[in-house]
Symmetry: C2
Subunit: 232 residues, 2 copies
DNA sequence: ACGTAGCGGATTGTTGAACAATCCTGCAAG
DNA sequence: CTTGCAGGATTGTTCAACAATCCGCTACGT
């Protein structure tokens, strides 16, 4: 057999799907899910013993999972006190939007030379959010919106940017929990996203960038407003 | 006493310096140091038992430290095989430079409104590299160069951008190890950095951005060349 | 009543040992 | 040259133990 058989690299790509799952990672996946969907609200403490007993894993394994999520900023670890679901402060919200603004507006500059499938992914994400809205699944609308913005940064064609962005998305979800009415929060952005997507697809990149900047102004202000109201 | 005494938040800032050091984190700090300074070359395997015995820590603690460094991409973890010092591929180099280009050129846009101390930090970093070059400490020149670029991204005034950038710097160090002659690699950039720093300090932001882009072209090409030569 | 010092319980930090699961190496058979 | 199969070594995971630390409570003195 030659060294460059065509099916070799195909299988090499599937390699990761095989077993690469340690218990700690699966525990981390589970906790991450519960956190971003709100089942574990910000501020709750995760006791090693209770959580370990509930999930039937040892303390050591659980601690490994905790470390992972702490590094993703979904948990905070206070020395000799335990781990807590992160509570996002107003400054965190500002910072997250600053990074998003940076990454997403820069990503649009890659749009002219981007593969068509990437443009398509952006439109698909918008369509997904619109469909979820029509069916009154407002939590799904939120995930669709985030998928839309991740599709924009995906224009950069950078695995690292993708990872940073998905972490930011998860982190931002922590902040969404302060919004009591998900519909009022997520609904207005669907039309905005649709507009941005069409500007990109139509090649009007400068306008798209401006619309995106405008979106950030509005979204950040609304979230910060909710924070300010909660403080009272 | 009032609720907003001036010294309160000063002490709150020092809070982190108190005890916040777990054994796992200190082990991770040590290993990180050894990795980026090249004492642990890319590809070397870190056996849990040997490393644990050498550092006098238990396997569990060591594994926690490993997890941290794996998440920082300085180590790779292969299931049931162990952890290895990451070997940076050519695609990784490209990706790292793509992210740097994105972050640093965007950061310059914050320069007009940035605090003066941030501009000063940029010049200080250049001066540090120049001093190290004069004393023939070429490894220090490399760190000075990286500090210069971190000072540029610091213009964004975003803790998250700072952290991303310092991680990228550490990761890029892994790639520098392929350069056999550190002097030939680091020296040319000192003058370039000086030029960029003065353009920023002089308020010529557009030119600075162009010079920076030019720097990335050169640096990335040189590193990729070294990779291509090594492949033969 | 108020602040404080100290005590005891609970939780985390870290270690060490143990066992199952998996991988690597070398050798023998085809 | 490939295949199959032990045997040893390493990792994955659990468990139990102890030290260090934090939290809440009580008792005390003013």
């Amino acid at each position: 057999m030659t060294a460059t058989d065509p099916w070799v690299e195909m299988l090499a790509g599937d390699r990761g799907l095989l077993d690469r799952t340690s218990t700690a990672e699966r525990v981390a996946d589970l906790l991450r899910q519960r956190i971003i969907e709100g089942a574990l609200p910000p501020g709750t403490r995760l006791s090693e013993e209770s959580a370990g007993r509930a999930l039937s894993v040892s303390r050591n394994t659980l601690r490994e999972a905790f470390r992972l999520l702490v590094h993703e900023r979904l948990l905070v670890h206070e020395f000799h006190r335990g781990v807590f679901v992160r509570v996002l402060e107003a400054e965190d919200v500002s910072d997250l939007y600053r990074v998003r603004r940076l990454l997403e507006t820069s990503a649009i500059r890659y749009a002219p030379t981007a593969d068509h499938t990437l443009i398509r992914a952006i439109e698909d994400a918008v369509a997904g959010a619109e469909l979820a809205a029509k069916e009154d699944r407002w939590l799904a609308v939120g995930t669709g919106n985030m998928r839309f913005h991740q599709a924009i940064t995906a224009l950069s064609c950078s695995p690292r940017v993708d990872e940073i962005m998905s972490q930011i998305a998860a982190e931002l979800r922590l902040g969404f929990h302060v919004m009591s009415r998900p519909r009022e929060f997520h609904e207005p952005y669907i039309a905005l996203n649709r507009e941005i997507a069409e500007l990109i697809a139509g090649g009007k990149y400068k306008q798209a960038e401006r619309a995106l900047d405008n979106y950030f102004d509005i979204a950040e202000a609304q979230l910060l407003d909710a924070y300010a109201q909660m403080a009272r």
